[in-house]
Symmetry: C2
Amino acid sequence: MTSAFLEAAARLLGPKGLTTDSHALAPWLTDWRGRYTGKALALASPASTAEVSALVRLCAEHQVPIVPQGGNSGMSGGATPFDSGTELLLSLRRMNAISSLDRAAQTVVCEAGVILQTLHETAAREGLRFPLSLGGKGSATIGGLVSTNAGGTQVLRHGSMRALVLGLQGVLADGSILDQLVPLKKDNRGFDLKQVLIGSEGTLGIVTAATLRLVPDIAGRCVMWAGCATLDDARALLVMAQDMAADLLEGFEVLPRHSLEAVLAYLPDARSPLAAPYEWHALIEFVAGDVSTAARLPEIAEHLLSQAFERGLIADATIAASEDQAERLWLIRETISPAERAIGPAMQHDISVPVEAMPAFVDAAVPRLEADWPGTTAVCFGHLGDGNVHFHVIAPPGADRAVWEAGDGKAISAQVHDMVTQWGGSISAEHGIGRLKRDELARLGDPVALSTMRAIKHALDPQGLLNPGKLV
Amino acid sequence: MTSAFLEAAARLLGPKGLTTDSHALAPWLTDWRGRYTGKALALASPASTAEVSALVRLCAEHQVPIVPQGGNSGMSGGATPFDSGTELLLSLRRMNAISSLDRAAQTVVCEAGVILQTLHETAAREGLRFPLSLGGKGSATIGGLVSTNAGGTQVLRHGSMRALVLGLQGVLADGSILDQLVPLKKDNRGFDLKQVLIGSEGTLGIVTAATLRLVPDIAGRCVMWAGCATLDDARALLVMAQDMAADLLEGFEVLPRHSLEAVLAYLPDARSPLAAPYEWHALIEFVAGDVSTAARLPEIAEHLLSQAFERGLIADATIAASEDQAERLWLIRETISPAERAIGPAMQHDISVPVEAMPAFVDAAVPRLEADWPGTTAVCFGHLGDGNVHFHVIAPPGADRAVWEAGDGKAISAQVHDMVTQWGGSISAEHGIGRLKRDELARLGDPVALSTMRAIKHALDPQGLLNPGKLV
């Protein structure tokens, strides 16, 4: 059976399209964080949607499970096969054409394998930009970003990937092609099937192309850094910034004293943006798409900060005077993850609660965890503007990584997820469920939502061949 | 069977919650446009989500089909029962509480029966606004607007209802309650089930409440009217307005000479905004949420119009000098439908194509139809900014309404839908499918999309009791 399938697949895809060579396969069998390593029957790399369609039909006939993979930079193991060796790893990296870019309409049609950074560069050459970025931009593909509804630091203004997808093409479990690439701003012809595929992590279909929204290139930006006594003050500053300039507010990130100190210890030539230490820091970015508004940004920023200072929300602040300074402020934010990791083992959680509840949640959860697990340090940082923080719990000094992660660490994660659920929040704000959080979703998810998801999964993939064992 | 069901339902809902009285039922058995009249077993008006849940469970036990109805102002007959008299009409108008409004978070939680205008007024009292409006705002309910993914004239900037729904609560076919009211800006815990219910016209579940996005109240607006030689010039003006002030552009509507003349003939004291006649007219609105930007709006408007004049895109233009003048310009736009209807029988189509293709589509479709159907007049007006126009074909003078609508009119509609489909567009941009366009969707819809919709419908409503015979 298996050899019949492999022969047929090889005929279909040609020598560039299929390999069982273990060296060729190896890089794609371990997830980006190194948490999971699996085996695969073969690596299929079709060159077109028609080939994907024919391949999926072949898999359906032979009951071969498929693990679709984008840039292999996911955070939840959703693109890594299991150990069985019976799954076909499906890479869309060869399908990397930017099929068209319409400058006036500000849209771009990308095949699934287009790398995010390539899209950024292509849009920039046309005086436009694609307003979603994240750490893995050099490897993350459009297909993976759509399938996982990826986030990043610009969600506050531009939304997650879902908000940027205007059209979609995908291959369903029976090999049929759902083609909704034509971007219609209004279309009420029944259920919005694009929305069903977005964020479904390859369990309902394989995204083969997408039509994406572009925005005008940045005419100017203004980056600020403010020191606050409490996270609640930072949240009041956020509300003030939104009231004053919602259409300009591109980013609002927070980091606690612990994270800033970790970065300063980790980055050799980093300096604290402010003279004195503060418990909380806000990194704020205003962006203007036109030159005349861009010229007013420093004035608006000063107005915001002076008002916040008068109201006692901030103790000190600085405005980046150059693009170089702006980049140095963002570098601090972007270095938190590796800097915190360098301290020692940590359980990392990507959680969200309603934005307005975030300060109370953090103020309740952090001391509770540190009290329940003596020696640990709980650190929350990230996208306050989206109600999404990365909640890291660092092991007590000297803890053995493997022992701690499998024991106390696991219990700590369960407790974090319990607390988030009690607050009406999400145990996966932007990283998805994949393999990592499937059991936790089954444990804590709303039973009605879970049974509805399972019903949809069964309806669209009755044989259960699309990324089995992930998400649902 | 039926009497057992009615007795159980009466016990459950009490005297206010259930009636079989024909006078009480009558207003809700005919759709807003008077196209369809049906019969119903009874009218159920539950007072809470728990009652809706229990009622739907009861219906599932007794296999009683349900027709959910909001304000009964839909355009496609989606909320009108059929003739069988076996369907239960379910009104959520008693569930009309605005449960909470968070000024800082700019969110509001509404029960399904809240009327759009009530929401507008409530938001205004808090210095906020809900940026979706349409002709039926005095009767349309939040539940109906969500279920049909309603549009309107502000979609260009704020999106359709889908873009404004942050959280949702609904009752599924088995009576279970899907509660996703907590507004999380980021939540990647699997499929986004909210999106499945939005726009499903009550065929997958009954929307009982929604958390909606509010925006800052208008600090100022600037309304312009421009005369263009061609629709392509109007579209170039739109691109220019977007390039110059995308964040301010709240509306961009177009109307042809025919529509303006129809309105001037229909409204006793209306005057043409411009001295000379033009083939096309653009109604443009800039809106600012803050006072300082509001003060700059006239200057930005003048800059736009003078640039457009220099480039030869417009021949003449006027900027409303007062709120009164602005309202008079909008009144012209809002009177097109009744004014065109007063001329005689017409087939009306609510269609969309990609924005950039709209001028070419109209230039191809209008003369083609008028040539194929001598004596008819084809008129396109509406939301150019969304690629959505209302495409009316007026009968030859003297045509008998009933004969024409059932004969040539029907064939004309089929031809309009054929052309739209060939152009990659939608036969229902904002009015939904309901009963009116179900056969056309089955005829022209993508077979893969249709079979996927049917699979989802069957998975979530295996007995087919939710709004049967509508949409899918």
